[in-house]
């Protein structure tokens, strides 16, 4: 009787563990959505030219500084 009870408890535990690890179709959908979102984001970023702007590559030979307080 004790053995039977123990076996039932073990089976129940295994079933719970399986339920937790089994793929949830809802989670799958969320993961796919997240993946698509990050792919879209990556595409958007690669569509932008994120290199340094041409004007910032030009370094003037000499610069001067002016400092003002404009009220």
């Amino acid at each position: 009787m004790l053995l039977k009870g123990f076996s039932l408890a073990s089976i129940a535990t295994l079933l719970i563990l399986y339920a937790c690890s089994a793929p949830n179709p809802e989670n799958d959908e969320t993961n796919t959505r997240d993946k698509m979102k990050s792919m879209e984001q990556a595409e958007n970023n690669s569509a932008l030219d994120i290199s340094i702007p041409p004007i910032d590559k030009i370094v003037p030979i000499r610069t001067e500084t002016a400092t003002f307080a404009l009220g």
Binding site: P53, I55, T63, A66, T67
Partner: protein, 181 residues
């Protein structure tokens, strides 16, 4: 303005060490410009200075004072000369102080390129180009776009140089529309 290489805002003219916006001490809110003298002269910057604020009222606090911080003897001479000329032109006393430059404290990052920061789609592109705020502050492209957003520079000027700013097509269109409006 062609020849303006970098701009930054901060605090100067006081004695307090490491001022902040909420603890400014005796400093004034200040703009600092690095410029290429082969493209724009200090005199031209002074013209903008005199025409972009009203120096005829005594400032109620040091924070909002009108001050020219000269960096050398020539800047001092030009500052005094243009002050006298401006005073004669508007026939009023001018309360602008002309003092030697000593120290400039950079304002907090959220004050830098203020108008650009208010345009999410434009600032996003600059932040991708320059993840570090210090690099963004030193960007000529960011300074110029900020200037155009502030109403400095014409639509035609912008058309001529917009390719140099490294923006996407949608950001270019947005900026052109803003300046044309």
């Amino acid at each position: 303005m062609k020849g303006v290489v970098r701009t930054r805002v901060g605090y100067a003219g006081g004695t307090k060490n490491n001022p902040t916006y909420h603890d400014l001490g005796d400093h004034a809110e200040t703009l600092q410009v690095d410029f290429d003298p082969t493209h724009v002269s200090y005199g031209e910057l002074l013209d903008i200075f005199w025409n972009s604020h009203s120096p005829t009222n005594r400032a109620l606090s040091k924070q909002y004072s009108s001050i020219i911080f000269y960096h050398d003897a020539e800047q001092r001479r030009l500052a005094m000369e243009t002050r006298d000329r401006q005073s004669a032109k508007i026939q009023a006393a001018i309360y602008t102080e002309i003092v030697p430059f000593s120290e400039f404290y950079m304002a907090e990052a959220y004050h830098q390129k203020y108008l650009l920061q208010r345009e999410p789609s434009l600032i996003k592109e600059f932040e991708l180009m320059y993840p570090l705020p210090s690099d963004l502050i030193n960007s000529t492209a960011a300074a110029r776009v900020n200037g155009y957003l502030g109403g400095y520079g014409t639509y035609k000027d912008l058309q001529l140089e917009i390719d140099e700013f490294g923006l996407s097509q949608s950001a270019r269109t947005k900026l052109l529309n803003r300046v044309r409006a």
